[in-house]
């Protein structure tokens, strides 16, 4: 390892060769302002187009200013990050960006969360030189079931493009037009719904402005809660509890499960349930399907489709429907926990409560934007009435809590309601990469071998590497498992399966970096991947503290099968808890 010595703002610093000025400065506590640059270090995701020119610095002997994000250090370099020349350039460029940006900050969905806004404040821009009839670059607005595009607010940081093309390999977004009208858009500036978009929302998760945002459904929830004819119940996904606190100033990774339940009750939900319950149910169905396929395979049935692929992640479902239409019978037919919950709520629970299906409103709180799309799919409706009526993001829930004047910090810790609120540790870890397959292994192992697990934790399945593989010993039968998060890694894994490079029995795939903890509906990470890591750890902690940690031991799940479903993969279960996939190949 070669070390390079340089000075930044008169402070000597020694860094590894290949380090950028930006990173070297960070090491000695100098945070150079940047806008387009984004580095999710823990996840190996970097956006560095060098386009915004905000992070410029003066390098002695260099003719022009250097973009610190993409200029490597050199021996003896003398860098100044805050000379009058640098400050003037930074501020002038910021003024230029703002001169082509709408000034409706007060009513912008990103108000208070906008990186452009806070950077403008940091740089102290107080006025923008006005040119008479100065042009603004404006574009047609576009809304899908999940995401909204208001590209007048695009600053061409290209982060969304990096996420969509390089990280997710979805290819829905890229730069179009030239010069002043250059913008990121689907090909031919079509609507997102006509593009190969999976609605994973990672573009929204990284957008520094209000150009890309989620569809805001909070008003629908407020109206439903105020309607006396409706019984409104809510389910919360596992990853929400590890992130919601951030919206109220708590440290990333703070678990707020009890406060969240209390807040939801105060918002007026008739029952506060947990998607974790449905996660346990998913394990019963998906785990049984896995064992069924493996048993047939081991008996020599060559027609059986292996590896089985998880199907919890709606963006992943959209991805394989678009990109792998020839493999539609490979993923598990089990619905996602959100949809299993809706189906059970509107049948089993509605029956118990004696509420008519159409009078029961099921709301889900998700770390995800693709869930908004998923709950609107036709196959998840009965006579036009959806199993899940509305899906809102973690951010939207935080907004609802604030609007309802609830002081989150002073809330007591409360429990979920029964019967759909009980869950196990296995369900909690659904919220992070590797969690679903670990939960499935815990149950499948015990059912397959007939033995109790000595050790519940399968650490070999955990971590944040994009692609992970492990072999689990099921009493002499080795079960090969693949795990991928981020759709680009999923593509690599799947292509590897196709080419025969891999030989798996089961694969877990999550579209977002880190799994649902890094979902697009979560509080903004603003490029700090340690936040995602903290949420990831929080979920394993929650699992550890649970008394029941295996899905098939959830007493309410056992009761649900006894009272209503019969057994996993029964006809009722098949009808309510399983689905099928469609060829959505485009282009």
């Amino acid at each position: 390892m070669e070390l390079i010595k340089l000075t930044i703002d008169n402070t000597p610093v020694e860094v590894e060769k290949g380090t950028t000025i930006y990173q070297a400065a960070k090491k000695i506590g100098i945070k150079i302002p940047a806008l387009c640059y984004m580095n999710l270090e823990h996840l190996g995701i970097e956006n560095r187009p060098g386009g915004c020119r905000i992070c410029v610095v003066e390098v002695a002997g260099r003719r022009n200013l250097a973009p610190s994000c993409s200029t490597s250090v050199m021996e003896g370099m003398v860098v100044k990050t805050n000379t009058p020349k640098v400050l003037n350039a930074r501020k002038t460029v910021m003024e230029l960006i703002l001169s082509d940006h709408p000034k409706d900050c007060l009513i912008c969905p990103s108000n208070g969360k906008c990186e452009l806004q806070s950077l403008a404040a940091t740089l102290g821009v107080r006025e923008i030189h006005s040119v008479e009839n100065a042009a603004m670059s404006t574009y047609r607005k576009d809304a899908s079931p999940s995401l909204k595009r208001d590209m007048d607010k695009c600053i061409m940081c290209r982060r969304c493009e990096t996420m969509c093309n390089e990280v997710q390999t979805v290819g829905a977004l890229s730069a179009v037009n030239r010069g002043f009208m250059a913008v990121v858009a689907p090909a031919f500036e079509q609507d997102l719904v006509k593009s190969p978009c999976t609605f994973c929302g990672q573009c929204v998760a990284v957008c520094p402005t209000g150009a890309l945002t989620e569809v805001d459904d909070t008003n629908k929830i407020i109206r439903a809660l105020a309607d006396p004819s409706k019984t409104v119940v809510v389910q919360t996904a596992p990853a929400v509890r590890a992130a919601l606190g951030e919206e109220f100033g708590l440290e990333p990774g703070t678990r707020v499960t009890g406060k969240m339940a209390a807040a939801l009750r105060r918002l007026g939900f008739a029952k506060v349930f947990d998607t974790d319950f449905a996660a346990d149910l998913t394990i019963m169905e998906e785990g049984t399907e896995l064992l069924d396929r493996i048993s047939k395979f081991l008996k020599g049935d060559k027609s059986v489709k292996l590896p089985i692929l998880t199907s919890c992640c709606p963006a992943w479902v959209n991805f394989f429907e678009t990109n792998y239409p020839d493999m539609l019978d490979v993923p598990s037919s089990a619905k996602s926990p959100q949809q299993m919950f809706g189906a059970i709520a509107k049948t089993y629970f509605a029956g118990k409560m004696n509420v008519k299906r159409e009078d029961l409103v099921v709301v889900s709180v998700m770390p995800c934007l693709a869930k908004k799309f998923e709950c609107q799919r036709d196959e998840f409706k009965v006579n036009g009435n959806p199993d899940v009526d509305y899906s809102i993001s973690t951010r939207e829930l935080a907004h609802l809590i604030k609007m309802a004047n609830i002081d989150f910090a002073s809330l007591p810790e409360e429990d979920f309601d029964q019967p759909l609120g009980e869950s196990t540790g296995a369900a909690v870890i659904f919220g992070t990469t590797g969690g679903v397959i670990e939960a499935a292994v815990r149950t499948a192992y015990e059912i397959f071998t007939g033995n109790k697990l000595n050790k519940i934790d399968f650490k070999e399945l955990r971590g944040l590497e994009g692609i992970r593989t492990a072999s689990i010993d099921f009493n002499g039968t080795m079960i090969n498992i693949g795990i991928a998060h981020q759709l680009g890694n999923a593509r690599k894994l799947l292509d590897g399966v196709r080419s025969g490079m891999y030989n798996f029995h089961a694969i877990e795939i999550m579209a977002c970096p880190g799994g649902c903890v890094g979902g697009a509906g979560q509080p903004y990470h603003h490029g700090d991947s340690s936040i995602i890591e903290a949420r990831h750890k929080a979920l394993y902690k929650e699992d550890e503290e649970k008394t029941i940690r295996k899905s098939h031991e959830n007493p309410y799940i056992i009761k649900l099968y006894e009272e209503f479903l019969g057994k996993p993969m029964s006809e009722t279960a098949h009808h309510l808890l399983h689905t099928h996939y469609f060829d959505k190949h485009k282009v």
Binding site: P49, G50, G51, C52, R53, I54, V56, N64, L65, P67, S70, T71, S72, K85, N88, A89, T92, V93, L96, I97, S99, D100, H129, V131, E132, N133, A134, A135, I155, M156, S174, A175, N177, R178, G179, F180, M181, A182
Partner: protein, 596 residues
């Protein structure tokens, strides 16, 4: 086979073709056939002669008679008089503007006297679609010579010649080759940048149209030197004739074994493919060019990595401009000592310029580095059109600057032009006279830049748009002193912060005009006047009562009835109704309408 006694060289460059040189060739051939001369007199379509102002050109060999502005109808006279009877057609000869004497041989014309032609050595001499004509003029001999050397020896010759990149930045070519040669890879590429995009520039096009084989040969030499077996020419699709001639040259070179496997019996394999560009100016920037060739959006990326490390498809690639390559075979044939004896201390050899604007001899010229702007404009260019006063010369294309009277004696080279606030660029040279408004000129170039910015970096994407809007405001008479400060600051920040060469040089026209013509800016902003009378909004038409005869012609033609007056009485223009269309000015027979 009859002995060929005479050649008629007819310019087949794009400019002369637009003036019917193709039909002229057909007519000449028909006339020769009618006189049974077609066996002994051959008509040859060549590349550009450079003297586009006087095109189409016909040159008669062996007597070197140089006919100008030849129309197809002149074919008969040329054949009957010159070919048959040996009498020159005087009316088609060039007339010396000063002495009014007819000049028969081009070497006695001011336009050609100061020129030294290296890159253009074959343009106008050979049929570009016949490789044998190129070979006769020592074509591919340089490649043969290089193949007997080691790559390092050959690179050393290029280094010693002092050749610098003719695309604009002036990076030493030999050094570039050396870097590319030292990077190890399973595949390397030689890329020829033929994405000429400066408005009014046609140096590269003329070389490709007139001498395509010189580029093919030079690319093969470069391939041998850096260890590449594949060459790519990135050429804009708007150059159909250049594309056709390159295709012909590449095809013939393959037939002759000068491209393909085991060239000239050596172990060296090399072949060339064409890649077409859609005409984006920014694709002349080498990283943008490479992205465009890869099928990606044509926009630059930050260097390093340089193409020599990671270029086309991530492989080491050496990108040189057409004119740079055109010099290569000559350097190997005549030696680096010869080449480096031409030019100035740091800029060796010659440079091709496309002379345009308010100049008598519009055309393509090649002069030794160190020639002064005065020599180029007044001796070669023949001075300003209509005897008007020289005001400025814009060099370096849209990214260059405007130089003035005070720079006329500056020897042209890379460093002097930069020091003066302009640049060499690829070789556009546009001359302006007293009628040109320098604010409008700056606006014109900014307009081009705004159109051609890729939009990747904020200073170029938004800054140039704002500069253009501010210049428009000034031309409208609405500018303020703050606007001038704004332009000044913006220009400097864009120069300092833009990502690529396009953005970093885009404010040059504004900075240089603000520096050298500040009073003209002040006239627009403070006095609300355009001294050159070009800015419509700042113009007012008034009738000089002393000259007006009251003929009523102006009033009859005024589209807004702004002019009133009785017959034989001086007329008056109502300024509130006048839309400044200039009709009255054009119609008045007595020069009574004045622009103020």
């Amino acid at each position: 086979m009859a002995q060929i006694k005479m050649h008629l060289l007819v310019c087949g460059g794009t400019g002369c073709r637009a003036s019917e040189s193709k039909r002229l060739v057909d007519e000449l051939n028909a006339q020769l056939k009618a006189n049974n001369l077609d066996e002994e007199v051959k008509v040859i379509i060549t590349g550009c002669f450079g003297f586009c102002e006087k095109g189409p050109i016909v040159k008669v060999i062996p007597d070197n008679t140089f006919y100008t502005k030849v129309k197809p109808e002149d074919a008969e006279e040329i054949v009957e008089e010159h070919v048959l009877k040996g009498r020159k057609v005087t009316r088609l000869l060039y007339e010396n503007p000063e002495t009014k004497e007819h000049v028969s041989d081009s070497k006695h014309m001011g336009f050609y006297q100061k020129q030294v032609r290296i890159a253009l050595r074959n343009c106008g001499f050979i049929d570009p679609e016949n490789i044998e004509e190129y070979i006769v003029r020592d074509g591919y001999a340089a490649l043969g010579k290089v193949l007997s050397m080691t790559p390092a020896e050959a690179i050393d010759i290029v280094k010693k010649s002092g050749l610098r990149g003719r695309g604009g930045a002036g990076f030493p070519t030999g050094l570039k080759w050396e870097i590319a040669s030292k990077n190890k890879a399973d595949q390397k590429y030689v890329v020829c940048n033929a994405d000429e995009g400066d408005p009014g520039a046609f140096m590269d096009r003329s070389i490709l149209e007139g001498d395509p084989n010189s580029i093919v040969e030079a690319m093969a030499i470069c391939g041998y030197c850096i260890g590449a077996t594949k060459g790519l020419i990135y050429i804009r699709a708007e150059y159909p004739l250049a594309i056709k001639r390159l295709q012909v040259a590449i095809g013939q070179a393959r037939e002759f074994g000068l491209l393909g496997p085991k060239i000239l019996g050596s172990d060296f394999d090399f072949d060339i493919e064409l890649r077409y560009g859609a005409g984006a100016f920014v694709c002349g920037e080498e990283t943008a060019l490479i992205h465009s060739m890869e099928g990606k959006r044509g926009e630059p990326t930050i260097k390093p990595p340089f193409p020599a490390e990671a270029g086309y498809l991530g492989k080491p690639s050496n990108v040189n401009n057409v004119e740079t390559f055109a010099n290569i075979p000559a350097i190997f044939l005549k030696g680096w000592e010869w080449f480096s004896s031409i030019g100035t201390e740091k800029s060796k050899g010659t440079k091709v310029f496309a002379l345009a604007g308010k100049i008598n001899n519009v055309g393509l010229i090649e002069v030794p580095m160190g020639t002064t702007l005065r020599e180029v404009i007044f001796e070669i260019g023949g001075g300003i059109k209509g005897g008007k006063k020289f005001k400025a010369v814009q060099t370096g294309g849209p990214s260059g600057g405007c130089l003035t009277e005070q720079h006329l004696d500056t020897p042209i080279d890379y460093d002097n032009l930069v020091a003066a606030g302009s640049m060499m660029g690829s070789g556009g040279m546009i001359v302006m006279d007293e009628d040109d408004c320098m604010v409008s000129v700056a606006k014109f170039y900014l307009d081009f830049i705004v159109e051609e910015s890729c939009g990747k970096c904020a200073p170029c994407r938004i800054g140039n748009k704002r500069m253009h809007e501010t210049l428009e405001k000034i031309c409208q008479g609405k500018g303020t002193m703050e606007d001038l400060d704004y332009l000044d600051n913006l220009s400097k920040v864009i120069k300092d912060t833009a990502l690529c060469g396009l953005g970093q040089t885009s404010p040059n026209p504004v900075l240089s005009t603000m520096q050298y013509f500040r009073d003209e800016y002040l006239a627009h902003v403070v006095d609300k006047k355009c001294p050159a009378g070009r800015c419509k909004a700042l113009r007012s038409y008034v009738i000089n009562a002393d000259k007006c005869m009251g003929c009523t012609l102006c009033a009859k033609n005024c589209p807004t009835s702004a002019i009133t007056g009785d017959k034989k009485v001086p007329h008056v223009i109502d300024q509130s109704k006048c839309i400044k269309c200039g009709t009255c000015y054009e119609k008045c027979k007595f020069g009574a309408i004045e622009i103020r």
